[in-house]
């Protein structure tokens, strides 16, 4: 009996062939009737396939290292293939082979320093956008102690409202963006008045509140998916502009605009925190809520203000993110993707400190963009998140945070 099982096992494990497939496309057109030859390491041909009318081909081959090549004579007139493809084929996974057609493109190699400068500008821009969106998280945490996981959805909502005003209602992009930020203030106010103030009144603990914010985030995200779109949607009159060049620095108008708006808004927030009465009250509540309340500050009013401000800034962050990072497109998950980077930024800077959040977010933005020098672009967010985990190990209070906040 046991032997039988073993034999069956060996037979199953003896599965030495697998399917390899691909689709031949030259300049957007499928290539039909091309012959693909598969050769093993000793140079012997092991299989052959011909592409169908839609360019698709599949071939059954033995597993192992194989070379896939296209027979040049079988290609239509004027089509050339760049090179053959060497691939180690294994069973138990999809094996696909991609051929490139046309002349081998010799990329004009940009010197390293130019790439570094370009990515630094990009990173600065991205970091400033993260900071604009994240100031709200930091202030809300400072004044109420809530880690708001639903903040990413406030960011998405900002961009979505701008899109609705712009595309559905046909307003110019700038007006739509301004209106979206105003709606963002309202959304922030509604969040506080509808959910968080009642919860504070019920004396719901901070951890249950955190879990509630997760529930709210999931609901909002999928409501956006339902009523907006499950695909990326472009703004109607998004200006596509060429890059301006100042010496080694090259930047598009829209990115320059993004940086300028972010800097102005962030300086404005800093001045408000330093100079105005409400700003001082916000810092006082962050520092010591009870002391602030007993010295005559209306804590609930300050918190309402913080939520409105946070909502508005998140909406602005969403609009800027859609304009710059996503190239004029809005996507239903964009805020959630940004949320973890916002957390990384404000943790790096020091949870609950406004200036720390700014500094941390810029560092995260730079890190995300500059990491593409070393790693593949589809991994660039990983660098930002790893720094988050790393910071928790070496300096959990962040750059500007104080020790007693973390215990």
């Amino acid at each position: 009996m046991f032997a039988a099982i073993l034999c069956a096992g060996n037979a199953a494990a003896d599965n030495h062939t697998t399917t390899v497939s691909g689709r031949l496309v030259n300049a957007g057109q499928p290539v039909a009737g091309a012959e693909i030859r598969v050769v093993d390491t000793s140079g012997a041909e092991v299989a052959r396939a011909t592409s169908a009318d839609n360019g698709r081909w599949t071939v059954e081959v033995p597993v192992g290292e194989l070379v896939f090549e296209i027979v040049p004579e079988s290609l239509p007139e004027g089509v050339t293939v760049q090179s053959s493809v060497t691939r180690t084929v294994t069973a138990g996974r999809t094996n696909s082979v991609v051929f490139s057609f046309g002349e081998v493109r010799t990329t004009h190699a940009t010197p390293l320093y130019e790439r570094v400068i370009r990515l630094t500008v990009d990173g600065l821009r991205f970091g400033l956008v993260i900071a604009v969106a994240a100031i709200g998280v930091s202030l809300i945490f400072g004044t109420t102690g809530l880690t708001n996981f639903a903040h990413g959805e406030l960011v998405t909502l900002g961009a979505v409202f701008a899109w609705v005003f712009n595309v559905t209602m046909g307003m110019p992009l700038l007006l739509a963006s301004v209106l979206a930020v105003i709606v963002g203030f309202g959304v922030g106010w509604l969040n506080n008045a509808g959910v968080w103030r009642p919860l504070r009144k019920r004396r719901v603990g901070l951890i249950p509140q955190l879990v509630v914010s997760i529930g709210l985030a999931i609901s909002l995200r999928y409501l956006i998916l339902m009523f907006f779109s499950d695909r990326q949607q472009a703004f109607a009159d998004y200006p596509v502009s060429a890059e301006r060049k100042w010496g080694p620095i090259a930047i598009t108008d829209i990115n320059l605009f993004t940086i300028a708006i972010s800097v102005v808004v962030l300086v404005g927030v800093a001045l408000m925190l330093q100079k105005t009465q409400i700003g001082k009250a916000m810092r006082a509540v962050s520092d010591n809520r009870d002391l602030a309340a007993s010295s005559g500050i209306n804590v609930e009013r300050v918190i309402t203000f913080v939520w409105c401000l946070g909502g508005g800034l998140a909406a602005l962050g969403g609009v800027l993110l859609a304009m710059s990072e996503l190239g004029g497109r809005v996507q239903w998950e964009m805020g959630f993707k940004l949320l973890l980077l916002m957390f990384a930024g404000i943790t790096l800077g020091g949870l609950g400190t406004a200036y720390g959040a700014l500094l941390g977010c810029i560092v995260v933005g730079l890190l995300v963009q500059l990491s593409t020098l070393f790693i593949s672009p589809d991994l660039k967010y990983v660098g930002g998140l790893l720094i988050l985990i790393f910071i928790l190990i070496v300096r959990p209070q962040g750059i500007l945070g104080s020790r007693e906040r973390i215990g």
Partner: protein
């Protein structure tokens, strides 16, 4: 409207393989959140390591299945140690942020084209479950009827193994939480300083709970990989953690059977409106003007509302004791 049909479709969720998967995740989360008060928002990352442990060792490195299971569980335990050492000394939300970030990092790394040679990137891995289904006493080609719901032979086998596993783990949790070790965990949840004052090394206990719960999460990933016979990186999205979390809250945190009851009822309850809505939009003259994708999104909206409302109005869930779940940040 065919309410009976909707109920029957939902009934499959009650005992089907997905209930087992979420039950396993939730049992792990229960040790973290329910008994120790730790916020692990990256449980799916542990499951990812469990699942990919099996997939990578068997498909990429041609090892027998048991090596894959072992590697997967070890990797999940290791992740818990790596995340726990820096964050368990800090306030609870630091662990939450670190774990959710770690789970997302893992998913991004495993789906990246850079790691294609090992993980199969977005295509995932498959064809490693033969060593598991080989022991099945059920006929893979046949459908078996369980109380009116049909399951294929391999799924019946997976369910038999899975529910046995769930019961064994429930027994383990029962024994552990009534042991001196379990009482220390609860003491930490209630008052960390008091536990410390009694001479308990709070950090070590927390780390042990995190590792144990994480390994159980990894086991969930192993089960899912063997049952679905394939692994895809985007299955392991952060939302999955919150399904398990929702299931735990529904069933009742800090109870032995809470996560299991929750996992069974969770998809059952969400599947009923889903099935009814699908009926409402089907046919040439639909009652509601919604698309398929919108109905699909509806269940997540309900899930979020369910989590929030449970947390506010009935934090003890169905089976729990309110005094046990008064958490404070």
């Amino acid at each position: 409207m065919d309410i009976l049909g909707a109920l029957q479709a939902s009934f499959a969720q009650l005992i089907g393989p997905s209930a087992i998967f979420y039950a396993l995740l939730a049992i792990g989360l229960n040790l973290h959140f329910g008994y120790t008060g730790l916020l692990n928002f990256g449980q799916i990352g542990f499951a990812l390591l469990g699942g990919y442990g099996v997939g990578i060792m068997t498909v990429t490195y041609h090892q027998p299945l048991w090596v894959g299971v072992l590697v997967g569980l070890l990797a999940a335990g290791l992740l818990a140690i790596l995340l726990g050492i820096p964050t368990l000394r800090l306030r609870a939300d630091y662990l939450a942020i670190a774990t959710i970030a770690a789970a997302e990092v893992l998913r991004l790394i495993f789906r990246s084209t850079t790691s294609d040679a090992v993980t199969g990137s977005t295509n995932g891995l498959f064809g490693f479950a033969d060593a598991f289904t080989r022991f099945s006493p059920f006929d893979s080609a046949r459908q078996y009827s369980l109380l009116g719901v049909r399951f294929v032979g391999d799924d019946v086998w997976a369910m038999l193994v899975g529910w046995t596993l769930v019961l064994v783990l429930c027994g383990l949790v029962f024994l552990l939480t009534r042991s001196p070790w379990g009482r220390v965990l609860k003491a930490i949840r209630e008052d960390e300083d008091a536990a410390r004052a009694l001479g308990k090394n709070v950090f070590v206990y927390k780390l042990q709970a995190l590792v144990l719960g994480g390994v159980i999460g990894g086991l969930g990933g192993v089960f899912n990989a063997l049952q679905t016979k394939s692994i895809h990186p985007d299955f392991y999205s952060t939302a999955q953690t919150f399904y398990a979390f929702g299931a735990l809250l529904l069933g009742g945190a800090a109870t032995v059977f809470g996560p299991v009851v929750g996992a069974m009822l969770f998809w059952f309850l969400l599947a009923i409106p889903d099935a009814l809505l699908r009926q409402a939009i089907a046919g040439p003259d639909p009652i509601l003007p919604l698309t398929d994708a919108q109905v699909g999104a509806m269940r997540y909206v309900l899930l979020g509302i369910l989590i929030a409302l449970l947390m506010i109005f009935r934090p003890q869930g169905i089976l729990g004791n309110k005094r046990e779940v008064q958490l404070d940040g």
